[in-house]
Subunit: 325 residues, 2 copies
Amino acid sequence: MLQNLDRLKVFYHVFSSGSVVAAANALHVSQSAVSQTIHKLEKEVNSPLFTRLHKQLVPTRAGKRLYEIVQPFMGALDGYQKDLEVAKNHPIGELRVGAPPEFGKAYLPSIVADFREKYPDVTFTLELGTPETLLPLLREGLLDFALVDVFLTQSTHIGHLDMYHFNPVGEEEVILACSRQYHEKYVKGDHSFSSLSKQNFISYRKDLQAIRLWFKHHFSKSNIHVRDVLTVDSHEAVISAIAHNVGIGVVASHLITEKLSNGIIVHIKTPKPEIMNAISLVQLQDKIPTLTEKVFERYLIDKIREANGGDSLHNSGTNAKAGEF
Amino acid sequence: MLQNLDRLKVFYHVFSSGSVVAAANALHVSQSAVSQTIHKLEKEVNSPLFTRLHKQLVPTRAGKRLYEIVQPFMGALDGYQKDLEVAKNHPIGELRVGAPPEFGKAYLPSIVADFREKYPDVTFTLELGTPETLLPLLREGLLDFALVDVFLTQSTHIGHLDMYHFNPVGEEEVILACSRQYHEKYVKGDHSFSSLSKQNFISYRKDLQAIRLWFKHHFSKSNIHVRDVLTVDSHEAVISAIAHNVGIGVVASHLITEKLSNGIIVHIKTPKPEIMNAISLVQLQDKIPTLTEKVFERYLIDKIREANGGDSLHNSGTNAKAGEF
DNA sequence: ACCTTAGCTGAAGTTATACTTATGCTCCAG
DNA sequence: CTGGAGCATAAGTATAACTTCAGCTAAGGT
């Protein structure tokens, strides 16, 4: 590998102008310095780069080829620096944000669209996944933001969490629910542990993560065994299954507000307050955010808060999402 | 423009390995030096390139983009150096040779083909033209070789000739000729200046360069006026016109050996010996030739000499070419 | 033909800066 | 809780790039 890249900058100027003096002026050094540098470079690559004609350097083949490598590089570097400069005053570039699948599919596209309306120079890549997949991507610098359910993050084993910065942007109430028909037929108003643990359950994942968390919260029972009759990684599907009397499921209450008020679905309550699941915007703790990131972060938080009804957290959010994915 | 390209090499290694110590080892410097260099680079571009996580540097967006610029560049430089290295032991690469159009069309393609048979890694670009066009190209480093007629070079005004190195590779006899019929009807054996200057002439160019040179050589007359009845920039055409009794023309004798011996065309002689036109292989005086150039030069000279009948110059070459183009 | 000028080269001395050494800090692992 | 791995920082040294000055060569002007 070439030892000294700096000489290439000098070479670039000498080649462009075809003159040592011109290059020396451009670089604000003496012509002797330029001459010496070119000689050193030629010695380094062990090939003449110019043939010395009186008062003129004409490039050799090797020189020409080298220039063809260096020239676009210098151009790219120049563009790079200019881009960085404009990005200091004006949001621009690509943002990579991670989000839970349901949230990413349902809410992010419209947020992105609105944002791009205002800042058309910003592009996006959405990565959908669980905290377990998203946080490592964040750690490796492959994501700028991750939106995650704290509800889930707590339960899973993810290395050291203190390298991340969690910024809560919304909350939702996570409840247990079944259809009115199912409730009348099987639950019969008995919301005790022994009653509920005998029911049919609808889960998001085979490990019943959300259901276990619900039982842990409400009854302080950790290793429950329940009958899992349907596993489907979609909120719509779970809600639909609940409505069709398949069994009991965990769901964010704001997703079924309507079905609760008209009595199609029943909220299974216990004496304990419901689980409040915080949606957090996660970033790398030590990362210095770019202007673009700061602007988007502000925008995203405002959007989500606004969608939550204007007042701060703690009302069951209409946005955000819950459960497993 | 970036002040210090050298730091990019360090950046490249740090990014590749994701570690300061690894880069330091690869570059054979201390860990501290690498750390300092990266900090200076970040200061220079005024953007963080890595976010410091414990025991690890993870690249930011800016860092990633910079790497995407630097990485292919480093690769290209590497390839460049390797190419130069192999070119020291093995002919390879592109050769740009200039030649007179007729020569370039008639002889060079077969020479190039033979050469490439032996050295398949060498490619060619042929530039056809007169010395006036070819020599400046040589001077600007756009050609590696030029084959030119010294005959013509003398007559035209081309700046300083001593920057070039002329290597004679063949000679041809340049003669005045007409058909036997034309000779009997109009010349009638009178080869004096007053007789010849009244004839019809066939020229290559409107300025009658070749004809003027012939008269200057044979009669020491500089500003002759003759009747130009046909101008055509092709030897075949001129010979054909001569054979069809259009008039008198200047031509290389080896091109019409057959027609002279069977009497179709007559050689118009004077007491003076004929013009001997040297074909020279011209290179830039001070250019250090590459191996590829040396090998091809050797090959070209051998080929032309060999085509000239095995013994050295001075017999009317069967190769090479004459006249204007 | 001469001198002058423009441009590249080269040696010697100086200055800048990259590197080393040494130390400290932080976070993870055992 | 302690040790170790990896990055950051300060101070001093050494390397190498730059400046200055002198020399060389070819072109151009008078």
